[in-house]
């Protein structure tokens, strides 16, 4: 049965492919913001009956941070540190897309085989979670700007968040909000660190960061 929910999840999957294939930092930031928005809508749409107040808090908190706050921070970071606004990947875009397709197949296989105590709201939810973890990891290891590392980390977090709302009955609100808070602090700190790295070393190329030794 195709519900709007399923369509939203497919859109979420497509944003991940777009992340793997896009070459501009600005479009990466926009896509991650779109993911935050989609996750917020999925949070509300995934509730069978009328959603309770905690669901709305969760959804609105998610949209406010991932769709408004983080993109603003990212844009500021990109503007301030004065870097080339392209991704410059170690692994090419086409190869990344191919890796994406393979990892999506793997996640479907894995998602069908893992037993969970309660059923997720959609068959696609759990495979998408694994897929987003893969994509986040792929973005972290195959792109060489410090900012794309944060984007990859955020994609992984989005995946974990989707996992959380798949089993929202079983997970307490405070755990979810706590995770969200952790992420906010993490992105803040990374924003500051990126700025400092740029001021100290004039580059955000992670390959050169490996040379930093005492």
């Amino acid at each position: 049965m195709l519900s709007w929910l399923e369509a939203l999840i497919i859109l979420l999957v497509l944003t991940n492919f777009a992340l793997l294939g896009s070459s501009r930092l600005a479009s990466l930031i926009r896509l991650v913001a779109l993911q935050g928005m989609l996750l917020g809508i999925i949070t509300i749409a995934s509730q069978p009956g009328a959603a309770s107040a905690r669901i709305y808090i969760l959804a609105l908190g998610n949209i406010a941070t991932k769709c408004l706050l983080f993109p603003w921070l990212f844009y500021r970071a990109v503007k301030e540190v004065n870097i080339r606004r392209e991704v410059e990947p170690y692994v090419g875009y086409n190869l990344s897309l191919l890796a994406g397709v393979i990892s999506f197949g793997l996640s479907l296989w894995l998602g069908d085989r893992l037993p969970f105590p309660t059923k997720a709201f959609s068959d696609l939810a759990v495979p998408t979670v694994f897929f987003m973890l893969w994509v986040g990891l792929l973005l972290i290891i195959s792109r060489n700007k410090a900012i794309t590392q944060v984007v990859g980390y955020l994609v992984m977090e989005n995946g974990i968040y989707l996992f959380g709302i798949s089993f929202v009955e079983a997970a307490p609100l405070f755990v979810e909000l706590g995770v969200l808070l952790d992420v906010i602090v993490g992105v803040f700190i990374m924003g500051i660190i990126i700025h400092q790295i740029d001021r100290q070393f004039d580059t955000l190329h992670v390959g050169q960061l490996a040379n930093l030794k005492d």
């Binding site: 195709l2 999957v13 294939g21 191919l98 397709v101 197949g105 479907l108």
Partner: protein
Amino acid sequence: MISLSFAVTFVSSLAVAPLYLSIINKTKAFFAGRQGPPLLQPYIDIWKLLNKGAVYSKTTTSILFVSPVIGLGCLIIATAFLPVGRTPSIFAFDGDFIVLAYLFALMRFFFIIAALDTGSSFEGMGASREAYFATLTEVAFILGLAAMAKKTGTLCLSGMLTQISGEMWKQSGGILALTASSLFIVLLSECARIPIDDPNTHLELTMIHEVMVLDHSGPDFALIHYLSCLKFWIIGSVLVRMVLPATVHSAWLDQAMVFAAVAGIAVAVGLIESSMARLKLNTVPQLLVGASTLSALALLLGLR
């Protein structure tokens, strides 16, 4: 009765195919504020070329001469696989969608060796680009058709296209939408339209498809013009039957609806051509790989 409606559809598809080219051109002219060429211009062009003599360079062999004819044969066979309204074609058999892909490939192969046959390095460059992009397009095409075959549970093209229904869109619209968007990119690429290739360009270094056929003249060139129209009709009618599965339970009316809906696709292509520019040559593969990704995604979702 079935063979009569098939014969009428078959002949009329061969006859109206060039009309869609002029619908694209009319749409482009409308958005550019021009009047545009008359609706029958493609026919007039083809007629004019057919009445001219052909010029063959002394370096070429018979390959240059036979390649458009072989192409015509390939596409006429491919047209015969298309269903009539909502009934399968009488030539349909299991696995004919793979034959369809191979017919396109065979035609392209002959165009490419004809381009190499002229001995011109410029045409060699065009042929190499065409081969490169076609390789990527084929992946999207085959995977998309495979996703449809999996979804409808039949291996024959007519069967797949006639089994798609509104019910199926409700149940697994995601898969069908992914396949349809991938096939639309395939259509743009196979028919050498913007954003993959610009049919109007004669700026030498940016041409892809046009380069290969520079040495064809007269009737050969008329055939090549006609073949690109026919290709648009074949892929366009496959796409139309995917996105508009409505039926009124009458083979004639259903087929008339398909003819009208392909005109809609031609308008959409015209809209794209008037609103965007051609992609940079090195970003074209990215778009085509993206189309393959959509098809692969549809197939994976259909497989579970």
